[in-house]
């Protein structure tokens, strides 16, 4: 049992050290190349969402230009940049769309394609995903 206790403490220490509380600084924002860098990824991302067969049905008739601007605001704010997301809440926007986990993960994979395409470093990709991932609770159908 002491081994169990030691390991449990080690685990907690590691978890605490790496705890994913959003830092107040703008390091992530800068790593993404500021608002222009975020916009470049979103301008790549949104057309992919609209054409990938896994996500296209959810974006039929959407104003893609507007969507890209809104997402840029949102990611800019999430990254600690000087932006304020002015769109509707995630819950309201996605209500009744019937989005399930596989759809949410498909979106993540498409975002990963866009981040790769625009040269966002892996660590900065994961930093952003960590800020966005909890939104699955408001986006997915339960």
């Amino acid at each position: 049992m002491p081994r169990v206790a030691i390991l449990a403490c080690l685990l907690l220490a590691i978890a605490a050290a790496a705890a994913q509380t959003p830092p107040a600084d703008d390091g992530l924002y800068l790593a993404w190349g500021g608002k222009a860098g975020i916009r470049a990824v979103m301008d790549d991302f949104v057309p992919r969402l609209a054409t990938d067969p896994r996500t296209a049905p959810f974006f039929k008739g959407a104003d893609l230009e507007h969507l890209s601007a809104q997402l840029t605001e949102q990611l800019c704010q999430q990254a600690g940049g000087p932006c304020v997301y002015s769109g509707k809440s995630m819950k309201v926007v996605h209500e009744d769309l019937g989005i399930h986990r596989r759809d949410f993960n498909a979106l993540v994979e498409i975002l990963q394609q866009s981040m790769d395409a625009k040269g966002i470093p892996f660590g900065a990709q994961n930093g952003m995903l960590a800020r966005l991932a909890p939104m699955h609770r408001d986006i997915e159908d339960r």
Binding site: M1, A19, Q20, F122, P134
Partner: protein, 301 residues
Amino acid sequence: MRRPALALLVGLAATLPGLPTQAQSGGKLLLTGGVSSIDGAAGGGLTPWALTGSYATAGEIGATAFATRVRTGDYGLAVYGAAVSAWDRVELSVARQDLDTGHSLAPLGLAGLHLKQDILGAKVRIAGDAVLDSDSLMPQIAIGLEHKKTHAGDLGPTLYGPLGAKDSGTDVYLSATKLLLAPGLLVNLTLRSTRANQNGLLGFGGAQGRGARLEPELSLAKLLRRDLAVGVEFRAKPDNLNRSVLGTGALKEDDWKDLFVAWAPSKHVSLTAAWVDLGRIAPAAQPRRQSGGYLSLQFAI
């Protein structure tokens, strides 16, 4: 036991409509189904994780099959098995292990002995989400069991006789897995209630100690890329046969450790290579520590 189990899995897979289309689009993110542990359950290499195997997420069903080879100084272990996972909730697995003891047991007149073991596993995710709840430290938690049946060959009469071991046992475990998404760090702690000797290859319990013990197993993995992880594992084990009729220390066993790298070029295949340290195995006959290479190939649909 093994054939009915395989038939059950195959039958289950065959009766599920829409499996091919669903499975091909497996909705989990890359590597978030882990790899196949030596006991068949999804996890790291030596220990199960709370993740369910394959890329099947909510509303999907998936399957994996794997083959693993371990080569230490004096022993060779071959494992193969399969698992079916449904809804990112439950997982059923089967595995067969075959330990080639080489010449190590020649002093006992058992040169070339193979110790085999069949393992039936079941796992249920009971809480949490290891990947997406990145604003919380709450891990994904699963409970599981591994029912093991040993085939000790000509060692059987000694193992089940004077040594006092049983030829089957059931491990029960609780796993907590968390992917710390921002740093790309996966942490797993498994607590296993077990009586197994050398994971069951030397039976369960012994004349001097039959009770189940709670043993911790720890894995840490770092994602270097989406398709590439490196990590370390530690697995504590009971030592039921240490004071046996063969003399104290003759069958002492040690904890297991490994350093691994896992690569998933696609959602259909992963390759895991590791350096493992299995400590001493039957030191009366073979006193050297057993360390060496580990290679595991997994296919997923």
